[in-house]
Amino acid sequence: MHPFEYAAPETLPDALALLREHGEDAKVLAGGQSLVPILTYRLAKPRLVVDINALPFGEVTAENGRLRLGALVRHHQLEESETIRRRCPVLADAARLIGNVRVRSLGTVGGSLAHADPAAELPAVMTALDARLTLASAGGQRHVDARDFFTGLLTTALSSEELLVAIDVPAVPAHGWAVEELSRRAGDFAVVAVVALVSVDRQGHVDDARVAFAGVADQPVRARAAEDALRGHEPTTERLGRAATAARAALAPPSDAFVSGEYRRLVAGVLCRRALARAVARALEAR
């Protein structure tokens, strides 16, 4: 690592003052599970690392049908929290797929979103959930919807003087859910991951459907075509297949050293069909 200075502010105003003062020369350290390798490989050479772990953003709270996750909530909390399991179990299922157990010990929700790896699970989950992110700077706070937060490869709406402090998630207790992913080895980033949330009304028709992919573009992708193909219809196997085909048709995933874009697209369709089937089964159970 290149040498840098280290600060561990104990209040939000202190942290924000540091970010305002140092701008692009500062990097925020949360769980460090992406930042530390980046520093080790000298892909970033900040002059200052601002360790925000002393800030009080580690709580999961539920209020008015919403879940509020502090930006420093760790992945293992998503796996283990009773509140999460009851109100938004898709977050627990997604967290289990993140990296390895050591990454989940330290890695944070805010860190994963701010890092914005296109193959990461949580950005896709937050996109599917229509989460709202709270960004703070020395000048005040603003809210950004997940769909507007991710702007490209490892790039978000955060400016260099802003800090992601909280994520509000609408609780979806009536929705069936599923997270499906294919990765090359245990612990690897997903080749493709898909998140599905489906609710079914009393007539047995799909009331609400949300589908989002990771790994198929430079940022999370919401599969509107699949959602439209489901909404208002009976979720038959044939209908789910049609929705998955619609989702696949809208994708143009990139190739990399291991996997061609065409293979990714094929896998996306298969995983989407499986995720929808499981989400629908859970939605019917919950009715």
Partner: protein, 155 residues
Amino acid sequence: MIARMVLNGRPRELDVRPEQTLLEALRDTLGIFDVKEGCGEGVCGVCTVLLDGRPVSSCLVLAPAVRGRAVTTLRGLERDGGLHPLQEAFVRYGAVQCGFCTPGMLLTALAFLEREPRPDRERIRAALEGNLCRCTGYTKIVDAVEAYVRDNGHG
């Protein structure tokens, strides 16, 4: 800068540089060589230590960030100067070949068993999936953990 921590049950003050990892501080500054360096990027699990009881890759923790926290390395498992019963199980079941992955395997397994004292074989395999071993083929490691669970009245 000075980082105060509790290392294997004892308070320690450690002079660290911001750009030092916990792994480097433990090995290079303190000479604690039961922590090994493997991949250096958090994938292999060889440098696992427990931070407040949870497994972390010490290569992915900045040394100054451990101030005020409890760090456990393999030697923190010592019982009255002897081996921990899980270590004995590893010996008995031939779960150690080159030994390089062993500290990480032991710490990961024990942290897991704290939370889930009576896992079945599949759960043990899943708990250790983030720790790579290039010798044993894992079977004997899982055997050893399974035997330890059976013989040590967990749960």
